[in-house]
Amino acid sequence: MSQAEARQTQRVVLQVNGQRHELDVEPRWLLADVLRHQLGLTATHVGCEQGVCGACTVLVDGKPERSCLMLAVQAEGCEVTTVEGLTPAAGLSPLQAAFQQHHALQCGFCTPGILVTMEALLRENPHPDEATVREALSGNVCRCTGYQFIVDAVLAAAKEGR
């Protein structure tokens, strides 16, 4: 295998936020980068590129996974959902609105990854207790607000039935 051969692109079909996309990607391209650069879905942020920070978290077949630890070619046949796909055409989702009301973000870099993770949590467990929220949140690093307001927002959204 020469480098030239390895750098050839492959045609893949990705299903993202309910839309079908045919794309040419190099095998080495990360799903996070393809979402951002090929599809322009720039809400998914790339932080640490080693799975620790959680900023790039997206839903793959409904489950939170790291888009920096998945190749775009591997997402073929899966339904990928980014925070854009969780946002209504106008306004905010109930979870997003709760984040706004409870000041659960400051710079916003971590917010998309946290929103998709918490959305998945609330779908699986509509009435989580605080410990469950904190455990699910433990995979997402926020460096400005602290976590208290985020937990408040998620619990409030759960209480209001999102």
Binding site: M1, P27, L30, Q50, G51, R66, L71, G139
Partner: protein, 270 residues
């Protein structure tokens, strides 16, 4: 950083996968990729090709076969954590799987991948050593069975050959032994600083298997003292023999062993 260029193959069967690994020197299997892709991103791993095991049917099953619990290499940590058969027969394995990384990592990372990668701080290799599991390694030449206790050589080194796939593990069905698990990490989901699995048999004999202290799982048989002070001395003496990087790790090794022991008795260690 971003990975170097590599070719990508997606076999539809295990036979096709091991043939590809044989045909393409410098190729590497990828399953969940939760350890491999960080290494690719940092360019610490530079494979010529990746053989993606994710679409191979039959590798993600959990079943009881005779007197053994059989778990496919492609079972994800979160599945392992939640699976009714694992919870019934090997609750300590289900518990350990829930301590691997974070939720998003557990949704993708696989049992086979964790065992093949053999990170010294990983929980699952230690559970396999404690449980006396047997691994099924498949290559183009056929299948070989390797006991977990002979599989791990040390830091990231195992008996797995470059053209082999860890297809399944088999654990004996538990037999009156009680188990406890404990680990210490700086934050939830971080790599453990020290961890232990304690087993206590009805006849009073037992064993402790440590992880994250040295280069891999380390299992020691002993008759655990009923007296807490005697026990503390036992843990300290054993921990002193570990190839740990510092005394703090040895101290933590004794702490997690005691907690795991108390949990094996159904008492919650603090």
């Amino acid at each position: 950083m971003k990975p170097v260029a590599f070719a990508y193959y997606r076999p539809q069967s295990l036979a096709e996968a091991v043939r590809m690994l044989r045909e393409h020197p410098g190729s590497k299997p990828i399953a969940g990729g939760q350890s491999l892709i960080p290494l690719l991103n940092f360019r610490m791993a530079r494979p010529e090709a990746l053989v993606d095991l994710n679409r191979i049917p039959g590798l993600d099953e959990v079943e009881v076969r005779g007197q053994r619990l059989r778990i496919g290499g492609l079972v994800r940590h979160q599945q392992l954590h939640e699976h009714p058969l694992v919870r019934q027969h090997w609750p300590v394995l289900a518990q350990a799987a829930g301590e691997v990384g974070h939720w998003a990592i557990r949704n993708r990372g696989t049992l086979g991948g964790s065992l093949a990668h053999a990170d010294p701080a990983a929980e699952l290799p230690a559970v396999m050593v404690a449980a006396d599991a047997v691994f099924e390694l498949v290559s183009a030449d056929g299948v070989r069975q390797v006991p977990a206790r002979e599989f791990f050589y040390g830091y990231l080194m195992t008996a797995l050959q470059p053209d082999e796939v860890l297809a399944a593990v088999e654990l004996p069905l538990a037999s009156g032994t009680s188990w406890g698990f404990a680990e210490v990490a700086r934050r939830p989901g971080d790599f453990a600083l020290a961890g232990a699995i304690c087993e206590c048999r009805p006849d009073g004999t037992g064993a402790v298997t440590w992880f994250a202290v040295g280069g891999g799982p380390e299992r020691h048989e002993l008759v655990v003292a009923a007296d807490a002070n005697e026990r503390a001395a036992q843990w300290q003496d054993l921990a002193a023999t570990l190839d740990a990087q510092d005394d703090y790790r040895r101290h933590l090794a004794a702490v997690v062993a005691e907690t795991a022991y108390l949990r094996s008795l159904g008492r919650d260690g603090q």
